[in-house]
Symmetry: C2
Subunit: 339 residues, 2 copies
Amino acid sequence: MKRPTIADIARRAGVSKGAVSYALNGQPGVSEATRQRIIAIAQEIGFNPNSAARALSGATANAVGLALCRPARILGIEPFFMELISGVEGELSARSYALTLQVVADPDAEIAVYRRWWGERRVDGVFVCDLRVDDRRVPVLEELQLPAVVIGGPGHTGTLASVWADDAAALVETMEYLVALGHRRIARVGGLPGLLHTEIRGKAFVEAGERLGLEQSLTVPSDYTGEEGARATRRLLGAAGRPTAIIYDNDVMAIAGLAVAQEMGLAVPGDLSIVAWDDSALCQLTHPPLTALGRDIPAYGAHAARQLLAAIEGREIGAYQDETAHLTPRGSTAAPSPA
Amino acid sequence: MKRPTIADIARRAGVSKGAVSYALNGQPGVSEATRQRIIAIAQEIGFNPNSAARALSGATANAVGLALCRPARILGIEPFFMELISGVEGELSARSYALTLQVVADPDAEIAVYRRWWGERRVDGVFVCDLRVDDRRVPVLEELQLPAVVIGGPGHTGTLASVWADDAAALVETMEYLVALGHRRIARVGGLPGLLHTEIRGKAFVEAGERLGLEQSLTVPSDYTGEEGARATRRLLGAAGRPTAIIYDNDVMAIAGLAVAQEMGLAVPGDLSIVAWDDSALCQLTHPPLTALGRDIPAYGAHAARQLLAAIEGREIGAYQDETAHLTPRGSTAAPSPA
DNA sequence: CTGAAAGCGCTTACAG
DNA sequence: CTGAAAGCGCTTACAG
């Protein structure tokens, strides 16, 4: 099957190729009557502009990139990324932008991908996930002048645009809730050290612990996997003066922690309260269902996409603060049973 | 920052642009010495070929497409797709192929995306997921002559290439295992009706049930979500002569079923054995951990990618049978307790 | 083995 | 308001 081109349309309409281009792109330079005639012909023959030709002349690829630096196992089990992608997609496809996805092995590979995409002119901009403190990707993207939106913050984003949420506030709200229930020994199973939001949450946890006068407020670092979440939980529950509540940095670790508690014969929430960060559907599948800190991740992705499209158009943009995660109490939290 | 082009390399090497192209693409037409000199210069100045220019002349986009027709919530919670994508990516990035992802609302939108991608020449080929009986996408892709690999089967793929696994055999193995444990009333919570693999599993379930002389072998249709999985489980467990074992068409529904059983005061595996299809890490996070039918999904994706690249190169390909899922017994299955 | 040139399908100044 | 033409950065026959 031969693909129709603007030359075909021009021939049938009896105009020049330039006129077809103007008509189809809503540019001035053709009469309204001609425009309508051309649009009708384009529709009739099922014309779609060749994206390569368009990119080559217009200098815009009509595609944006997302490089994910997580192993397959973690990517699969983390609902976050797919939900983010869904939200991103909604905005992009409304503007006929394509999303180019690449899974990379490490930060160096990710930077290499950005350089290649830039060199190939394959994408007009990129999303940057898993922001780190002093992230090496930021200066590279600034140097390349490749439009980018950092998903994370606040701060550490250089001159790049960003979307972020106030994790510190969400964590403090959660701790106050647990304290109000009567908890005095609260632990936290943290995400990957080095990620900015892990550091922000860790700092907020320590500060709020002091302010609230907790007897204990210990963080055990982890890596978002169920195995590590289970291991961290065993370590916390095996020690003397074990916590009566644990806050997990994602839902997968919280679910693993719940299984460990049940395995050890501890009642949830009687002996141990559990709070999950990221309130995916998983949290409602357990028994008891998990109290969780959630927010609308597809909407977060949609905001990120809007920021990126604005950046590509050269509009001045900065940091967009998304909604703060809110706590949904479910069956996994309650007052601690008297010791 | 100005992107280097082959013209820059040609100037510095003192050769024509054509020679640079030949040298970089491993084509004959330049001496080995010249080739090495050109490659060295390209490396030095960080050259990457403009993908649009390449696509426009070479007629290959160096990208393949994947359209996903599932709502955000299900996409997020289903580890299958991200694992598949990870595997696909491994093959693609080794060949410098990009993956273009699009989330679509329904089959019509998906078909429209294929037509648009084809017209735009944006992708060289596509993956087709969630194959249906008499799938309308198949004839469209055949008509467009857009290289495609169907992920699913066997059969119903027209002249398109495919990768598939023998779900019927896996299901029969599972039923024989449950029967050997002493189960005589086995139920199944199925996936979306209309999907080919749902139909294949349903048919195998009925046939094996008869052959094994089960007292009961009932399938309740569902939609892969936890909510529906829970509802189906309640329905099955609330009826007289309730099953002693349930096989779920995915792990999310199995986890929801486990919670329902616990909620109803049934012991798992004492009162009810549970088997999950899709052995993601989720299955090991529950208490008890779930017996599951698993296979290497990233490898499945890698095979699909190899098939698609072969199809794009015009090589004759057919249906590739991947490994059959194998059963991993865990704590959720045992002999039924005497009634 | 090498160079000059046409062409892929668009967009966009530039003349009329 | 419209047409003819250059140009984006490659690839690939076609001459030498």
